[in-house]
Symmetry: C2
Amino acid sequence: MNFKAFHKMSYGLYLIAAEHNGQKTGYIANTAFQVTSQPPQVAISCHKDNFSTRIILDSAAFSLSVLKKEVNMKIIGDFGFMSSAEMSKFSGINFLKGSSGAPIVTDSAVAWFDCKVTQSVDLGSHYLIIGEVIDSDILLDEEPLTYQYYREKYKMFSPKNSPTYIEKSKLEENAQTIFVEEKPGETDVTYFDGKRYICAICGFVYDPEEGDPTMGIAPGTPFEELPEDYRCPVCNAGKEYFQEE
Amino acid sequence: MNFKAFHKMSYGLYLIAAEHNGQKTGYIANTAFQVTSQPPQVAISCHKDNFSTRIILDSAAFSLSVLKKEVNMKIIGDFGFMSSAEMSKFSGINFLKGSSGAPIVTDSAVAWFDCKVTQSVDLGSHYLIIGEVIDSDILLDEEPLTYQYYREKYKMFSPKNSPTYIEKSKLEENAQTIFVEEKPGETDVTYFDGKRYICAICGFVYDPEEGDPTMGIAPGTPFEELPEDYRCPVCNAGKEYFQEE
């Protein structure tokens, strides 16, 4: 079994949201896809341990916002790496109310789908939840974010409860090698010799060779020389949450 | 409901194959995705009327080959638009024998997965078939084909039995407009005034403005001036199968 093969499957990135008894929830997922056309139904794979899964099943509804390519990273940080049980992710966020009852996040989204749950399937660690699309719209004339683009740009892997999570040891070689593989034609890749640091909260990797242009950090800046108030560009964790890779 | 929203979801393109009692079958699908990581399981949505669906269910196995970006169009034509009941798609094709029993097509593929069916779910028009990945490998260090790239390059829509099929009337505006929307920034698009012809077998659209470079036809060649032995670059149908759009 070569686990790197799984990185050759293509996905988008979506914000899935739901609400039950006034409790809103939302998270980021790559595994969302249309499964029938008449009527249009979509499927999402939801970890049984996730707070959102219970809200989706109890309300029998969810929305799916298709994220835009240059997504606001605060949305990824809040919705992708925090639990709705612990924070209110919707303050300061624009959303509509779907006729299914689910909130529909419109920030950083190119399109949305409002869905009523038709069935759920027990897959062991996850439920595959099927929803009929009762309404949909286009918001922005922009490219959608793909999982490949996100993974390459932010050097991110799926978190542990994701259907596409892979233990690092199973990938056999380090992340750097995988990204090289996915960029055919780049034969002059410079392998990095210095120390990379990984955010323990969200898995973001700080690579001194590249710096962190989103936070104003120049390429070539070692982790030790980052300002004390440097924070993870994805989940906003402080420097103390970073560990040598 | 705005059906154009569905074109904002991202997919790859895969060749799914199976074999039962010596009968091999294979087809092209965009709706394949990982649904759990431990154990790794993938899901595919299969139309109940399709020949391949019965073979997959009877053999309780299937393989999934991830197609490469510059796929051999004969593979798309044979596996995407012909029925395995009517022709032997595997002659002249390289494939392995998976330990699940399924043939695994290796031509034009960057990676493959060999899967044992664990369950199937009735979705109305389709079965969602879940398979545990028992083996996988990488074949080529190349980019995978995405559904968006395929749709834009070949001006193709999903065929009628696909989970992502959309009736043209539901898209409200013509295909040309949709492609313009998906290429933000191209404000100088020239709208075509001449006659486009559509292949009745596979849906490929001959656009005289673009010609058909894959068949040596120069841009600006009207359909009427195509050589009599012109054939659809996708499914190999003759000129007589083309109709004015």
